[in-house]
Subunit: 123 residues, 2 copies
């Protein structure tokens, strides 16, 4: 598995974005049969998108320029550890990018990555 380590300006939590290249260069589903390695990498991305809380979270982040972690707990009705858990998974899938500013963690969407994933579904 190809791993592309990317620091996101966090001290405590180092976000590791998996498959930065694999996703970008992966052929659309209907063009070539996927290898096992490709399938595992891509499956992890879709797995990040397979939870309702994370989908709403991503939608909220993508609808704004950036969103603070602390602004997610109330609208999603989830505890702070749960929010942290989900942002981590979205970040590891490369769907959002985090930046620490003082005590606050700010998240923004990664539209390029989202386009790459969309392209896998539809040539």
């Amino acid at each position: 598995m190809i791993v592309n380590t990317k620091m996101v300006g966090m001290a405590q939590h180092k976000t590791i974005t998996v498959n930065a290249d694999v996703v970008a260069c992966c052929s659309p589903l209907a063009h070539v049969e996927m290898s096992e390695a490709e399938a595992s990498d891509i499956a992890q991305i879709f797995s990040a998108l397979s939870d309702p809380v994370r989908l709403r979270m991503l939608s909220m982040i993508a609808s704004e320029s950036e969103v603070c972690s602390c602004a997610l707990e109330e609208p999603l009705s989830k505890s702070q550890p749960t929010i942290s858990h989900h942002t981590r998974i979205l970040a590891e899938a490369g769907l959002i990018i985090g930046e620490r500013r003082g005590r606050w963690m700010w998240w923004r969407a990664a539209p390029d990555r989202m386009r790459d994933i969309a392209r896998i579904l539809s040539a």
Copy 2:
């Protein structure tokens, strides 16, 4: 939850395609914040895509005009019940469409549905 029942020519197993409308009319993630109901529906689709075996399976089916269930076991190295389990999940997500011909079950991809899902990720 909106359920769109669709017979697929099977006697034994009635495939139920969920969210036929919801997906088609769902706004791209970045445009409007998703409701809980939308999120649950869409999450189920991505959940179907979140398994490596199913991704390779979908890739194989989408690369051909149609594929028989029996032609999937060997290349995917999975048992017959497991193949049946996965085809069912892909069909319920509306990603593939099945048709029984004699003793055999033939599957073809649903490119329209795949395009709809891609559009949710990238406007």
